[in-house]
């Protein structure tokens, strides 16, 4: 009897047959695997599985406890919803990438040691990058490379921290970092914060997500940042720095959202804002705060995916993504409007929607911890959340000026996926107890008190009043906003100028010297060398060159020059590596 089926393996090995299945068999298979994974997570027992030795280090493939079960539950549910949303796609590439992405995220959530964690961490980066590349077009490919570059850099920081940590403590087991913050701890923290999109390490998210495919962005909105919240909650609960970064982050995302014109980039800035609540909750570190952070992650994945699905449906149908080019779609897409609004009410924390019972737990935990400033800032960010996702975006996308766009409701599978997410958003809001029972610590919190309801409604509806009064000031403008990606998009060019102009001049001066003084001497030596070379070495070199030429010819046939092929090849490589890993070390 197998007592533990690793859901990550279900997804990663389960990705292999997808390209060979066709039509409705593939569709059924794409829903079967997430359903099995949900079952596997629901029946899993807390404990440690897959302990082994690797290069003299203790390895623990899966450590299951209450915290990992919360995240694994919502990840598998989200995988099912995302798959339903992507069922209409004919190509297999995105499905395979999404499976590997989800599997890697689950691998991180169950990882018991840093090496396993790192392996899956990188798997996530590569698999999700494919979802950006799959969009094709110059803009997406460039964004995809920037995304990959940033994540690889973050991965290197993480690996460096892990190695230093391992050397210092003699163990690579993944758990709370103890004994003060050293270089190792800060490197690991930086790697984690990059994936959580904590400013100033946030720009990769808002840069890449809006460039991804309609279906890919739905997956991306769910997994990368929330695995980061999970690892932060596991390793750094109660880190004071995170309270302030999280609070700043909640406001940062909201401020940028005012300026944004691209509908999915606006939503991406709200991921930054919402993850801020979770990061702050982890930083506060009390039982209630960690409960708040994990339950908010649970609710957030569902409503944010719903919002991305709504915006994606509009892009799928109209081919437009800028608010300045959208408007008046409510006539042709009423179902999409209604489903989107459920997500908007959930993220804004209206009573009887999921955000109300989770976000308030973080804010209440900050209050209990006597952090008045954090409470005020997070409350202000909630006002901004409703202002943008609940009012500005739907107004300019669905209502507002009628642009006479040809539109219709999206394919049925998209609507069904949105419906599934919407039902969960409402169900969690109305019946929070099952979610509360799942949380890592016992819950002593009642969201539905009179004061809490009237206060929330007061904040939200008077935000709406501000929106109505200052509507003209919010008109979207045809601009893009500078974020910290400026440093590697523009700053890198300044660096290149430095490399080309002053450094090139310096190099020329050096080469002048070498030409007048060093060269004559070298000529003499070279003539002597030539004699030896002609007689002995040439024969060998010619032989080698011929064989390389033959190899090169074969390699050229493999080269297609299409980036997506390379990305696919990388993903296949990752799957193969993980399969070997799974078979050899189980």
């Amino acid at each position: 009897m197998i007592d533990f089926v690793h859901p990550a393996l279900l997804f990663i090995l389960g990705a292999l047959p997808i390209p060979f299945l066709k039509g409705s068999i593939r569709k059924a298979y794409l829903m079967l695997i997430p359903a099995l994974a949900i079952l596997a997570v629901l029946t899993v027992q807390p404990g440690s599985y897959g302990a082994a030795e690797f290069i003299g280090q203790e390895i623990l493939i899966a450590k299951v406890d209450r915290l990992s079960i919360v995240f694994a539950t919502v990840f598998t549910i989200m995988a099912l919803i995302g798959m339903v949303y992507a069922l209409h796609l004919t190509g297999a590439g995105e499905h395979v990438a999404a499976f590997v992405y989800v599997g890697s995220a689950l691998g991180v959530v169950f990882a018991g040691d840093y090496l396993t964690l790192f392996l899956f961490w990188e798997g996530m980066a590569f698999a999700s990058a494919y979802l950006v590349f799959a969009q094709r077009g110059k803009q997406a490919i460039r964004a995809g490379f920037r995304y990959l570059m940033v994540h690889i850099t973050g991965g290197v920081a993480l690996l460096g921290g892990v190695i230093l940590h391992g050397l210092a403590t003699g163990s690579l087991l993944f758990g709370p970092i103890e004994g003060g913050m050293g270089v190792a701890a800060y490197l690991i923290l930086a790697g984690f914060m990059l994936n959580a999109a904590v400013p100033p390490l946030n720009a990769w998210l808002t840069d890449a997500y809006p460039e991804a495919t309609v279906t890919g962005a739905v997956f991306m909105s769910a997994f990368t940042t929330k695995t980061a919240v999970y690892v932060l909650a596991r390793a750094f609960p109660g880190t004071e720095l995170l309270v302030w970064l999280g609070t700043a982050m909640a406001l940062y995302g909201v401020i940028y959202a005012v300026l944004e014109n691209d509908c999915r980039r606006l939503l991406a800035y709200h991921i930054v804002s919402q993850v801020g609540y979770m990061v702050a909750g982890v930083g506060i570190g009390t039982e209630m705060a960690v409960n708040g952070a994990s339950s908010h992650a649970f609710a957030h994945i569902l409503y944010k995916a719903l919002l991305f699905m709504g915006a994606g449906a509009v892009i799928h149908v109209t081919g437009r993504r800028k608010l300045t080019e959208l408007g008046g779609l409510y006539r042709t897409m009423p179902l999409t409007v209604a489903l989107y609004m459920v997500g908007a009410f959930a993220i804004s924390a209206f009573p009887f929607f999921s955000g109300f019972v989770t976000k308030s737990m973080v804010v209440a935990a900050a209050g209990q911890d006597h952090r008045a400033l954090v409470v005020l800032a997070l409350t202000m960010a909630s006002s901004g959340t409703f202002l943008h996702t609940g009012l500005k975006l739907p107004y300019y996308m669905f209502f507002g000026m009628d642009r006479k766009l040809e539109a219709r409701e999206p394919p049925r599978n998209m609507l069904v996926a949105m419906g599934m997410a919407a039902v969960l958003c409402i169900a969690i809001g109305v019946f929070p107890q099952p979610l509360y029972a799942l949380l890592p610590h016992p819950v002593d919190f009642e969201p539905y008190t009179g004061v809490h309801i009237t206060e929330s409604l007061g904040i939200l509806m008077f935000t709406a009043l501000g929106f109505v009064l200052f509507l003209r000031a919010l008109d979207p403008e045809n601009t893009i906003s500078i974020d910290t990606d400026w440093f590697y998009r523009k700053g890198a060019r300044h660096f290149m100028w430095l490399a080309e102009k002053p450094l090139a001049r310096y190099e020329k001066a050096v080469s002048d010297v070498s030409e007048t003084a060093v060269l004559p001497f070298l000529h003499g030596t070279a003539r002597a060398g030539l004699r030896i070379d002609l007689n002995g070495v040439d024969a060998v070199v010619n032989g080698v060159a011929r064989s390389i030429l033959r190899g090169g010819g074969a390699l050229r046939k493999l080269q297609t020059g299409v980036v997506t092929h390379y990305a696919l090849a990388m993903i296949v490589g990752v799957i193969a590596a993980i399969a070997v890993f799974a078979v050899v070390w189980r």
């Binding site: 005012v258 209604a338 202002l387 409604l457 893009i480 500078i482």
Partner: protein, 84 residues
């Protein structure tokens, strides 16, 4: 049903009705905030009925204008071809 609700928020002919309902809701919320029992008030503002309405409105206005100021005067907003 859904179509009718969505249309109610979209069609111009319902504008007057919408506005009345909206202001009615605002008034009701403030009244309710005065009536609810407040047991454990942690902070000063927890004891002030109507505080959340004021704070929500001010937050909204502050966010709009601070962001737009940063965008226009602070140079955050750039032409779309800025990076090309």
């Amino acid at each position: 049903m859904i179509r009718r609700v969505v249309d109610f928020f979209g069609e111009a002919r319902h504008a007057e009705q919408r506005r009345r309902l909206f202001y009615l809701a605002l008034v009701l919320i403030v009244i309710a905030d005065f009536l609810v029992p407040r047991e454990h008030a942690e902070y000063l503002w927890d004891r002030l009925p109507g505080w959340s309405a004021v704070y929500g409105f001010l937050s909204c206005v502050l966010l709009i204008f601070v962001s737009k100021f940063l965008g226009h005067q602070g140079g955050l907003m750039r032409r779309e071809d800025y990076y090309d």
